[in-house]
């Protein structure tokens, strides 16, 4: 017997698949692209949810990892085309799976560096310092003209994946969809695992975790790094979707957006990020069609949600979360 939440999750997952399939059959590739955008943002937000929802770490700098993943894809692809070697004589590549590995590793390493320093602080300081680190990466990207600087970097042709015609919107969507499901699956596994127990306990009561003999810092740092890696992977996919990377992927607005996605859907919920991403992209599209000032209304809706509907969409649909 499925719980109410699992039922909602199933519907969400099915809807995300059904809409692009239908759109493709009806010859409307725009909606396939929209669905891909939702899937990628959902993956990025799931990554953040590991740190924020499970760990209670309010990172206002996750755009750094999103952007790093994007630039990994952009830089590797550019070198892959031109044939010029990258650094240390290593070539670029146009193979998605290689790019993904690089994106994940680099985002993880940067996450380790940022996390190691940031997690020595807490509360407001943590929020501020993660924001500041992301700004650092942003300004670095803006002032590095070799890869486009403020104007960004184009990926001429979408990267390749063995056996798949990645240029086709539906094919690329399916790649992103599968990765999203894997990401959500990983989140579920981690949440239910011993590590997840420790991470969530650290959020609920840090002193308690220490007094049973678990170092909260180590648990949080590990969670932060995994979170960075997942968001980095989403960034690489995002770059391939738009065939473009720009410093705006690193902006603090992006960091704020990622947090908004989670809140809209419901913090710490398995499918919260997906619900939030779907809502957000739908707003953007529907409201944006109505008025250029759609961000005003987005702000208003967000304000109302924060003040009055704290559990997000899944809170409304599926009731209170259970923790076992």
């Amino acid at each position: 017997m499925l719980s109410r939440e699992n039922l909602v999750n199933l519907v969400l997952a099915a809807a995300l698949l059904a809409v692009p399939l239908a759109a493709n059959a009806l010859g409307q590739p725009f909606y396939v692209t929209l669905a891909t955008r939702i899937a990628i943002l959902a993956l990025a937000a799931t990554g953040l949810n590991l740190a924020l929802g499970l760990g209670g770490l309010v990172s206002f700098g996750h755009a750094a990892f999103f952007g790093i993943g994007g630039y990994a894809a952009g830089i590797l692809a550019t070198h892959g085309f031109s044939g010029d070697p990258l650094i240390f004589g290593l070539p670029g590549t146009n193979q998605m799976w290689v790019i993904w590995i690089v994106a994940v590793v680099v985002a993880g390493l940067v996450g380790l560096a940022i996390g190691a320093i940031s997690l020595r602080t807490s509360g407001v300081y943590f929020i501020m310092i993660t924001l500041a680190f992301a700004q650092m990466v942003y300004y670095f990207a803006v002032s590095w003209p070799a890869y486009g600087g403020e104007d960004g970097l184009s990926i001429l042709v979408r990267n390749q994946f063995p056996g798949v015609m990645t240029m086709r919107p539906l094919s690329f969507f399916l790649i992103c969809y599968v990765i999203l499901l894997i990401g959500i699956g990983l989140f579920a596994l981690i949440r239910a695992s011993r590590f997840g127990s420790a991470l969530q306990a650290a959020r609920q009561n840090e002193v308690r975790v220490a007094t049973v003999g678990i170092e909260p810092y180590r648990i949080r740092l590990t969670g932060f790094v995994i979170s960075a890696m997942m968001t980095g992977l989403a960034g690489a996919l995002f770059a391939d979707l738009n065939r473009f990377v720009s410093p705006s992927m690193l902006s603090w607005h992006m960091s704020g957006e990622l947090i908004v996605l989670i809140i809209l859907g419901g913090t710490g919920r398995l499918f919260g990020p997906l619900a939030g991403a779907a809502l957000y992209v739908a707003f953007e599209y529907a409201l944006g069609g109505l008025t250029e000032r759609w961000q005003f209304f987005l702000g208003l809706i967000l304000l109302v949600v924060v003040l009055f509907a704290r559990g997000g969409l899944l809170g409304l649909l599926a009731g209170k979360a259970r923790h076992g």
Binding site: S193, R194, G196, S197, N205, R208, T211, V212
Partner: protein, 249 residues
């Protein structure tokens, strides 16, 4: 004499001009219940914080299980076997009683970096945790979130967690606080059996429990230990009577 499990020597802690801990020397021997009493503001909490590691002492040493733990983190001391309960209950409120104890069990095993096996289906972890809950009489409430447990049940849960840690010493910070007469009696009985597991440093206000349980009592006043001895010795000590016991003696 047998080496004490916990040895505190000349511990000093100042908060600006306030000398909260004034050269405290105290030890905890195997198999004993050592009660720490003293009027409000005597510095008992500050002392407990230094022993378990949430506060760093200014000078003096703390030896536990044969090691100098003064520089060790809270988690480090817990891993050595220092089990602590809190004056105000400290639990993971969203987790069930069972999952709280399972956390302690996995901490004991040092297995917190496993990412793939769901804990709620981990029979080994669950069985061990349930055994602890049974010892404190909480099996019926195992699946209830900790936030919804009664005050007394939270106390029991904390002790179950300390048991799960297989502590080498228990640091109990006013376990009787907020317990009615029935609860106090059963907890007193329980603590009496607990001493066989590991010695207990018991900070308490409840004099009935203290006199019923303690092998030794130390009296803390303005950050100094003014007397240490058996129940009888302390009852008769004039300094203690004037400073603290009043008409309890």
């Amino acid at each position: 004499m047998v080496e004490p499990v916990l040895q505190i020597s000349n511990l000093v802690k100042n908060f600006g001009a306030l000398r909260a801990t004034d050269g405290v020397t105290l030890d905890l021997r195997p198999g004993e219940i050592h009660a720490l009493i003293g009027p409000n503001g005597a510095g008992k909490s500050t002392l407990i914080h230094q022993i378990c590691g949430t506060l760093r002492q200014d000078s003096g040493s703390i030896r536990f299980a044969g090691e100098n733990v003064g520089a060790l983190s809270v988690a480090g001391r817990a891993r050595l076997g220092l089990g602590r309960t809190f004056q105000v209950s400290s639990l993971a409120p969203e987790f069930s009683a069972l999952r709280n104890v399972m956390l302690a069990v996995q901490a004991r095993e040092g297995s917190s970096f496993r990412f793939f096996k769901p804990v709620m289906r981990d029979k080994g972890l669950i069985d061990t945790a349930m055994a602890m809950l049974e010892r404190v009489g909480l099996t019926a409430r195992a699946r209830i979130p900790a936030a919804e447990l009664s005050h007394g049940e939270r106390r029991q849960l904390e002790i179950a967690m300390a048991l799960a840690l297989q502590s080498r010493a228990f640091l109990l910070d006013e376990p009787m606080a907020g317990m009615g007469p029935e609860g106090s009696k059963s907890l007193t009985r329980f603590l009496d059996t607990l001493r066989k597991e590991a010695p207990i440093l018991l900070v308490e206000h409840d004099m009935d429990a203290v006199f019923a349980l303690a092998d030794r009592i130390s009296v803390l006043v303005y950050g100094r230990i003014i007397a240490t001895g058996t129940v009888e010795e302390i009852r008769r000590d004039p300094a203690v009577r004037t400073a603290y016991l009043g008409d309890h003696a």
